[in-house]
């Protein structure tokens, strides 16, 4: 396999197929639309199914069904559409049905939606936030692996920069290690044997084989999320080892931040960056360590300050933390606005440094 110049939506599609995804359902909404179009073209070519769902509710519940039957399945949408899916994502988390939700957001406004969720009960969703198309192709596969490893719905957070940018990508099937057999999945084969299966968020079980019941099941799921929180924190640092100023950013905005960090380093500023790769679980320990030596921790994201909360939860000395991001949307309402450029980021960093001195 050689590298190909691929649009993000194509790269994600090819990566998902390489990971074994054979079921996808969605409802058009920009910038998710491109991914749905690619899936509808490609999945039938590899023996898969892509459904034109009649709503996001239907899309996510179709996906839940395919996943409950043991398939690697995905769905996705954008902000408002993902909001409609929350009930089913929470249900799948409690019922332990693994699938991947490709959130192709309108910018960075949906950090809370992915990391806090709007569903019901004590659930979390592993959320991967690639910084560019190359990493997106990796995360599209990792998301399916983590979903199956933990039997839990997993979120891939992309945006229009991920969906619409062309980059050279080598899509190869990645081996993330062994996975447990899906012996919980329904295939119909157990009927009449006295050992039939039941998937239910309340885990009531069969009358001849009682389940954990809601209390037991939800405790089990809550304990599992504690385990994930400890095991799956992922992050990346850039020029952070001796940094006096640490800029924390995530997803596609991190590429802009790193460009500015490199410029400022060349000018003699001891600056570095920190990027959570998993938005949940947030890499709190790594951030605390990276921030320990810094005089200031600058938080840049294109929203009113959502990851900012996680940064505050991670760093004990909150006086170090300064928010330099903000709400910024272009005229269409669908893309990020003026502050996602090197110049304004540079200016905000320079100003924050000046204020501190």
């Amino acid at each position: 396999m050689v590298a190909q110049l691929l649009q993000g939506a194509d790269a994600i599609t090819e990566a998902a197929i390489a990971a074994g995804c054979r079921f996808f359902a969605g409802y058009p909404m920009l910038p998710f639309t491109d991914l749905l179009e690619r899936m509808s073209r490609r999945l039938p070519q590899v023996g898969g199914v892509c459904m034109n769902a009649a709503s996001e509710l239907e899309a996510v519940n179709m996906t839940l069904g395919a996943a409950a039957a043991g398939a690697r399945a995905g769905t996705g949408s954008t902000g408002q559409g993902v909001a409609l899916m929350q009930e089913a994502v929470a249900e799948a988390a409690q019922a332990e049905i693994p699938f991947v939700v490709f959130t192709m957001a309108r910018g960075q406004q949906d950090y809370f939606q992915c990391t806090r969720g709007g569903g019901w009960g004590d659930y979390r969703t592993i959320t991967l936030a690639p910084r560019d198309v190359v990493e997106a192709a990796e995360h599209a596969q990792l998301a399916f692996h983590l979903a199956d490893l933990y039997r839990s719905p997993t979120i891939f957070y992309g945006d229009y920069l991920i969906a619409d940018t062309n980059m050279s990508v080598e899509v190869v099937a990645r081996d993330y290690g062994e996975l447990p057999a899906k012996d919980w999945a329904v295939d119909g084969s157990r009927g009449g044997t006295g050992k039939s299966r039941l998937i239910w968020s309340w885990d009531m079980g069969k009358v001849n084989n009682r389940g954990r019941q809601p209390d037991g099941q939800w405790r089990k799921v809550a304990a599992k999320f504690e385990e994930i929180a400890a095991a799956e924190q992922r992050h990346e640092t850039f020029m952070a080892d001796d940094a006096e100023y640490l800029v924390v950013s995530w997803g596609t905005s991190a590429a802009f931040v790193d460009y500015v960090v490199e410029e400022l380093r060349a000018e003699g500023v001891r600056i570095g960056s920190f990027r959570p790769i998993t938005l949940w679980p947030f890499p709190e320990k790594a951030l605390e360590e990276a921030a320990a030596k810094a005089k200031k921790v600058l938080v840049y994201e294109v929203n009113a300050g959502q990851m900012l909360e996680d940064v505050r939860l991670s760093i004990s000395d909150r006086s170090k933390i300064q928010f330099i991001g903000g709400v910024s949307v272009d005229y269409s309402g669908m893309r990020q606005g003026d502050i996602l450029e090197a110049a304004p980021i540079r200016e905000r960093i320079r100003q924050a440094i000046a204020e501190g001195d």
Binding site: L57, A69, A73, G191, W200, M204, K206
Partner: protein, 266 residues
Amino acid sequence: MAVIPTDLPPTTAHVQIATARVPLQLSNDHHLCAGCGHPVAQRLILEVIAELGIANRTIVTAGHGCYTGIVSYADIDAVQVLHGRAPAVSTGIKRVRPDAVVFSVQGDGDMVSEGLHEILHAGARGEKITCIMLNNGVFADTGGQMTGATVLGQRTKTSLEGRDAELHGYPIPVGDLLTQLPGVAYVARGAVNNAGSIAQTKKFVRRAFQTQLAGAGLSFVEILTMCPTGWFMPTAEGPSYLAETIEDTFPIGQLKAMADVIAGDD
């Protein structure tokens, strides 16, 4: 099986009935109210699956209502799903396991109120699944409120003076809507309020599964069931209320079928 003496009052009849083993039912006990029609509907569905010999490749999805327990009582693979979404979940299962027999059980609140969208689109797509609606005309599990299928004049906790068309709108005959869709291959409406209707409904359910086995489109059976608790009436009056009131709005009968399925079943 014990013979029920018909020359004596049926003082111990329930004990005798409970000794009859229902195929694919893990327990003959149920947690539902006296006079409820759901256990009868559940039993005939399971009998059909056993008789067709498809238990070892059947998957059921069930929504939220008094009938939800079918997923625990039936000895078949099952997924309990969100309110209104069973046809969507069944679609996902059937599309990745086309050899499985997939059916959904929903109530009228689940299908007509919360999930009309899903059943209509599943029908439009011609999904090769069987969708069963147990229609008792109320949200029974939540204590007797009005659903999209509550008949005009019926008193519920949220239509205290009776369902009024001006105020609450008209009940939705989902079966009749489904007949209009080319993707829907079988539609019937039965009841479980007397021996005759139970036998007829069982035939409808069998035809619905045969339609799925024939690889035709979506098959749908609505089963009118008694809910004396949710109707706020004595247990014994349930069957006659169903016949006299609900069947006026929702007449019993087969609304749509494929000729070869009907020819093959008797």
